[in-house]
Homo-oligomer: 123 residues x 2
């Protein structure tokens, strides 16, 4: 079994916007060296989700987890992503694509946001 | 000096979308009991940033930190928030409003997102 991970972010016109997500991808790669990790975007930036999924399937991944790097699974995540994953599944019947919860719902991310906000208050 | 904190999130039509942000607010309140903490939204949900700022200033806060609960300071955060804070400063000359970096740029949040994404891969 060959595993892949797509970190799926919104995207923005300013390329610097992607820097924290590139840092997330780098940290995941360091923690999971056997996994093919790709950063993909809903709009404005490349690759999009379909291209990243095609790439990982072509590279031989049989399992691809899709993790929305969103705070809250808002409108476009809930509406758009399932359809994108369904299209990927149809194009690549040998690969299982699974949609994970948005990272903003993870307890460690909630705790980290609270810690960062408390830090903004100083001592 | 009386301090306040506004956690500023995007907002969504679905009220459940705010739950992780309410959890962040609860954790910050527990960590900083002397600080007045409010959750405010850019759209769809109440209070908005202006109302939350008015409320904290009326409650006597002399320092209010505004923390964008955004991953990356995207378009509306960079374009809209400074103007909103400027308007608040003009309405409340006795209160200093300071815009903090978006939480998505904080190292602990980046690390937490990477940990949550790696966890999605299982063992």
């Amino acid at each position: 079994m060959s595993r892949g991970l797509i970190l799926f972010a919104h995207g923005a016109r300013d390329p610097r916007w992607a820097e924290p997500f590139e840092a997330v991808a780098a940290q995941v790669r360091a923690a999971r060296p056997g996994v093919a990790v790709r950063l993909a975007f809903l709009e404005f930036m490349a690759p999009d989700l379909a291209s990243a999924g095609d790439e990982l399937a072509a590279a031989g991944c049989t399992e691809v987890a899709v993790v929305p790097l969103f705070l809250g699974a808002g409108g476009h995540v809930r509406r758009d992503v399932p359809g994108l994953l369904q299209a990927l599944a149809e194009r690549h019947p040998g690969t299982r694509f699974t949609l994970q919860p948005a990272v903003g719902e993870a307890p460690e991310v909630v705790a980290a946001m609270a810690a960062a906000a408390a830090r903004a208050l100083g001592t």
